[in-house]
Amino acid sequence: MNNKRKPIVEVRNLTIGYDRQTVMEELNFSVFTGEIFVILGCSGCGKSTLLKHLIGLYEPFRGEIKIFGESIVRADEDEKRELMRQFGVTYQGGALFGSLTLAENVSLPLEEYTTLSREKIKERAYEKLALVDLQGFEEYMPAEISGGMKKRAGLARAMALDPKLLFFDEPSAGLDPITSAELDRLILRLRKELGTTIIIVTHELDSIFTVADRVIMLDKRTKSIIAEGEPHDLKKNSDNDWVREFLNRSNLKQV
């Protein structure tokens, strides 16, 4: 694995939440270049919230988030936009633009940010969609495809510009086991071929053990990270019962 240990995302003393409640307090962690980093936790504990703060959609109450060494918290509108287009994001529900076909969705960042010809852009969009097994659906509208397909199309769009950093919110939830396993393979391939750093929010234990280099586990009660480390290691050696239980569920599943 990558031993250079250069942080690509750094989080310091981060406290986040919404008007009425704090969701997480005093978070500290780093994600290193080339790493596949997984954010775990029970439903509703704040994984999506954390992700949305990392990508700069919400302002934290306190603390610092650095992406590519630059603060996304203190960046002004234009700097933030500049920073944002350097990474890709997928959302829990796909978030495809409803008025555009799948191919147009994927083409959009290419049209705006590259000088490629129209044919090249189309070719690239088709290629990305093929990567997530959506060949044949390029000219469909988002309303005409299933939830899992939307999710995959969202992935293709996030990868359109071959970003160095990708954020996935529950990429495999709602996918069948085979597609889900293929997605894991895709994630590993992206890292291997392009050296992409990937931050994933997920519940899928199979997928955690297949892809994750390191995980953090969020806890709703203490509003903090209760475990951090390599998943196999945590599963066996964590001193927290709840963490071991969470990770050992997969044994039941795999039998």
Binding site: L57, V89, Y91, Q92, G93, A95, L96, F97, E112
Partner: protein, 274 residues
Amino acid sequence: MSIFNGENVFTDFVEKIGKATQVILKDLRDLTLLVGDITKTSWYVIKHPSKLRWRDVGYYMDLCGSQALPIVIMICFLMGLILAFQAAVQARKFGGEIFVADAVGFSILKELGPLMVAMIATGRAGSAFAAEIGTMKVNEEISALETMGFSPCRFLVIPKVVSMLIAMPVLTVFGDVSGLFGGFVVGVTMLDLPGMAYYTRTIAVLYPSTMALGLIKSVVFGLLIAIVGCLRGFQSESDAQGVGRSTTSSVVTSIFLIVIADSVLTMLYTFLGY
């Protein structure tokens, strides 16, 4: 319950006023931010015209313009008809039938043409804008736009504003003409005026500037409708009912602001001597 308790009625009342004030202040703040954003983005788009989403402008021009044309023509024609009918009843009393042409001409061109078109556009375009942006918010499409480094204002607001600014005056011209024609029909059939006389009278009293005044109004109304529709869309809460409420409120707010703007402009015109 507490309704019978004098003190609570009073505190409830104060609380309601407080809440309403909060809502109004928040609306004003959001509006200011949006208008600021629109100004900034417009400037950027003027400098880089290729960055305008022309295809979206075309789509909205079709939606708010050409598709609204039949209803605009019909409503304005009927308005002209009704107006002429009412005026005719009065004008007959003192044998001034021909002045129906004046009454219809001025009312339609300066007031009712732009106003009716604005009401139709509020119902059609304003509500559609709010619903569209609200739904995009529910689907996290707005977030997706932002994290792709795109300005939601440039993608979603500017095309709507531009198409409204173009479509509204054009629709108003059609509305004006059909309104005048409605008056003409009443003049010729009910009042037995010679068609040529009605036509000549209309041409004689109306100047191009009369129509221009109405068109200026329609441009202002178009801007208001687009901005309010987008504002309510962005303010929408992230659920289906929230989108419904924001759509309703976009229509109510637009109508309210249009009537206010109309009064202000009419007073201004009078003050300037038009």
